[in-house]
């Protein structure tokens, strides 16, 4: 690993290091590992739904456990740690500081993830990643559910600690010659999500404790039999997790701002509008949580407020998209694998955004609610936009991390397969939803249309899965025997790459 050493160190020195590139590397390896494990669960779920009836998963309860752990893993053990890992790698470089502000706190934040992950994966709870009461507080069997609750508490604390560290690094430790309005837009995206994490996560942390005491039977916050209200949990949950959607998305947006100007060989079209859109999105994200609950029987006034609050996110997102398109327009674009993934991410961002507008429109929401439309919609944003962009950034960072080039041809094949696979799975799921197939079902009515659609989706899922195996092969092979990268411009685009001349860890 080129960035971290003057001479090779024993591996344990990297594993227990507090240097930001080492911790960043650990974050990235952990998140890619969980992407593969969560992906394996997704393939099992899709294989189960290939035909109606029971296929490879033994019973409906196991199916529930599969999709719960799949969702929890992809959100908390892939999307968030990956963004934190890239942030760890790049933020100190981008703000020109020797390390993160608190290196030891940084290591603590990372090392809270493995125990949290172990608790989620040991238990394999069956309460769904949302853990809605009343099932989660009076029925869901333990100790899996308890492990899930405490695992998520630990993971939440880890992201809060990481967020504090990022904020202090950027606001207090950045180089005095670097004004905040010249800071890279990727750094801005991490700054925005760090503030969002600080505001959003405590609500869910409180809800988890309330859920736990409810399960013990000592309180009845969400237990109707004791006078509680299950809907209250949904409010607390979505107050955290609607902003969390932007916490997943904004790092991807920031990564696109890193990649697109470089591969287009043009400066960013409008830096200021990017900053403004980040600030807008991170505030508006808090004004739309109850659009997940439009069907729970709120008053018309409430529903209208949240519908408008949701639509208010559209202009800010469109500012980003317009910025990317205007940056690419007229540029001499180099279509390397990272850029292809970036462009694919933008296209699917537009598609899933359009689907989101349909979801939030009140009359249409009641048609799509709890159907496969919703599954298709949020996967299109999380897999299509966030994960494809993250994947592109893995390729983009590869020369910086390893000092070698990945195999460009395999990278492009990966893009074509992953992009078409994602469209096959998640666009089909939109259609399935409109045909009335409910989400989270183990078995379905053997209608020929449903079977055909499910089979297309499953085929797409296998294409995506195989393409990611190809990526793993490419990364491992190239890390060992790839061509040595030209460290100041590995992609031959005539642009400055990151400062690779980091000294040995200073502590």
């Amino acid at each position: 690993m080129v960035l971290e050493v003057k001479k090779p160190r024993p591996l344990w020195e990297i594993i227990f290091s507090t240097h930001h590139t080492d911790i960043g590397l650990l974050y990235i390896i952990l998140s890619i590992s969980f992407l593969m494990m969560g992906g394996a669960l997704a393939l099992a779920i899709r294989a189960e739904l290939f035909l109606p009836g029971q296929q490879i998963i033994p019973d409906p309860n196991a199916f529930h456990r599969f999709f719960t752990v799949h969702g929890t893993t992809m959100l908390f053990l892939w999307a968030i740690p990956f963004a934190a890992g890239i942030g760890n790698y790049l933020i100190p470089i981008l703000v020109r500081y020797k390390d993160m502000a608190w290196p030891k706190l940084n290591a603590v934040a990372f090392w809270m993830i493995p125990p949290g992950a172990a608790m989620v994966w040991m238990g394999f709870a069956d309460l769904g990643w949302t853990a809605y009461p009343p099932y989660s507080n009076i029925r869901a069997p333990g100790p899996a559910a308890e492990l899930w609750i405490f695992g998520l508490k630990i993971l939440g604390l880890s992201s809060v600690l990481g967020a504090i560290n990022f904020i202090v690094t950027m606001l207090k430790c950045k180089h005095p010659d670097l004004p905040i309005m010249k800071m890279s837009l990727f750094a801005w995206s991490i700054l925005a999500i760090s503030f969002m994490i600080l505001v959003a996560i405590p609500t869910f942390a409180a809800a988890l404790i309330m859920l736990y005491t409810d399960r013990l039977g000592v309180t009845g916050f969400f237990n109707p039999a004791l006078g509680g209200d299950p809907i209250a949990y949904q409010h607390l949950f979505w107050f955290t997790f609607h902003p969390e959607v932007y916490i997943f998305l904004l790092p991807a947006v920031g990564m696109l701002y890193e990649m697109i100007p470089k591969f287009s060989r043009k400066p960013i079209f409008s830096y200021q509008s990017g900053v403004i859109a980040f600030i807008l999105l991170s505030t508006i994200g808090f004004a739309s949580w109850a659009h997940h609950m439009l069907a729970t029987g709120m008053s018309f006034t409430e529903k209208t407020v949240f519908m408008v609050g949701t639509l208010a996110a559209v202009p800010a997102s469109a500012m980003h998209v317009f910025n990317w398109l205007a940056t690419m327009w007229g540029g001499r674009i180099k279509f390397a694998a990272p850029m292809l993934f970036g462009i694919g991410g933008i296209m699917l961002f537009f598609a899933s955004g359009a689907g989101g507008v349909v979801n939030t429109a009140l009359p249409l929401d009641f048609i799509t609610h709890d159907s496969y439309w919703v599954v298709g919609h949020f996967h299109l944003i999380l897999m299509g936009t966030v994960s494809l962009t993250f994947t592109g950034f893995i390729y983009y960072m590869f020369p910086l991390i390893t000092g070698r080039m990945y195999n460009e041809k395999l990278g492009k094949i990966h893009f074509v397969a992953a992009f078409s696979g994602v469209i096959l799975v998640f666009m089909t799921q939109h259609v399935l939803g409109l045909m009335g197939m409910p989400r989270r079902y183990f078995d379905y009515i053997p209608l020929p249309e449903w079977i055909a659609m499910n089979q297309i989706a499953t085929t797409g899922a296998w294409i995506v899965g195989l393409s990611y195996l190809l990526m793993i092969y490419n990364l491992l092979k190239s890390a060992m025997t790839g061509v040595a990268a030209k460290m100041n411009d590995p992609f031959n685009i005539g642009e400055q790459y990151y400062d690779y001349r980091r000294r040995e860890p200073h502590h």
Partner: protein, 189 residues
């Protein structure tokens, strides 16, 4: 190879990468072994709150809206408008579905291993608040499910009588189609 400032660039060797990969995969394998060995145990304990009695009678809301009226005495839980339990017919054998069966991990059929003589009648008495069935087979995916005997849905507090005259001697697993983790075996002699 050297960089501009003459410090060497150290790139990973296959051996070093293999070592790192062994650590990652090794942790995954150990984790998988532990997780798979604990698979059933992890969903075997219902939460303590599952045995709580409601403090409010939800079937009888108070005129002011809001929460239901408090239940007068502790033993009349959720009787609602249902009258006194109907008299049970006499049968040769009784198979009881215990209260709380619907929750995974609780005891369900009593007795789990039921042995009858061919021709006997079985009274299936559902003492739970939830609907249940007694259906032959290993589960919903079993092709023979419901072919030999099936009570279909028995609502909470109700009963059905199962005839065994058409069942050949042998041992048959049965389950509840609503809660497939409720299982038992019927032996006909």
């Amino acid at each position: 190879m050297t960089t501009d400032d003459e410090s060497p660039i150290i790139r990973t060797t296959p051996k070093r990468l293999a070592k790192g990969l062994a650590i990652v995969v090794g942790i995954m394998i150990v984790g998988a072994v532990i997780a798979i060995s604990q698979w059933d145990y992890m969903v075997s304990v219902p939460p303590p709150s599952s045995t709580l009695k409601p403090k409010f009678d939800l079937s009888n809301p108070s005129p002011s809206g809001g929460h239901g009226a408090p239940v007068a005495s502790s033993e009349t839980v959720s009787t609602g408008e249902s009258p006194a339990p109907a008299a049970r017919p006499t049968a040769d054998v009784t198979l009881t579905i215990l209260e709380g069966s619907a929750i995974q991990g609780n005891p369900d059929y009593d007795p789990d291993e039921l042995t009858v003589q061919k021709g006997n009648t079985i009274l299936v008495d559902n003492l739970d608040l939830m609907p249940h069935t007694v259906t032959n087979g290993e589960g919903a995916s079993d092709a023979t499910s419901g072919q030999l005997f099936d009570t279909s849905i028995i609502n909470g507090g109700e009963f059905k009588v199962l005839e065994t005259t058409n069942i050949d001697a042998g041992s048959y697993p049965y389950y509840c189609t609503v809660h497939p983790y409720m299982t038992g075996t019927l032996t006909v002699e």
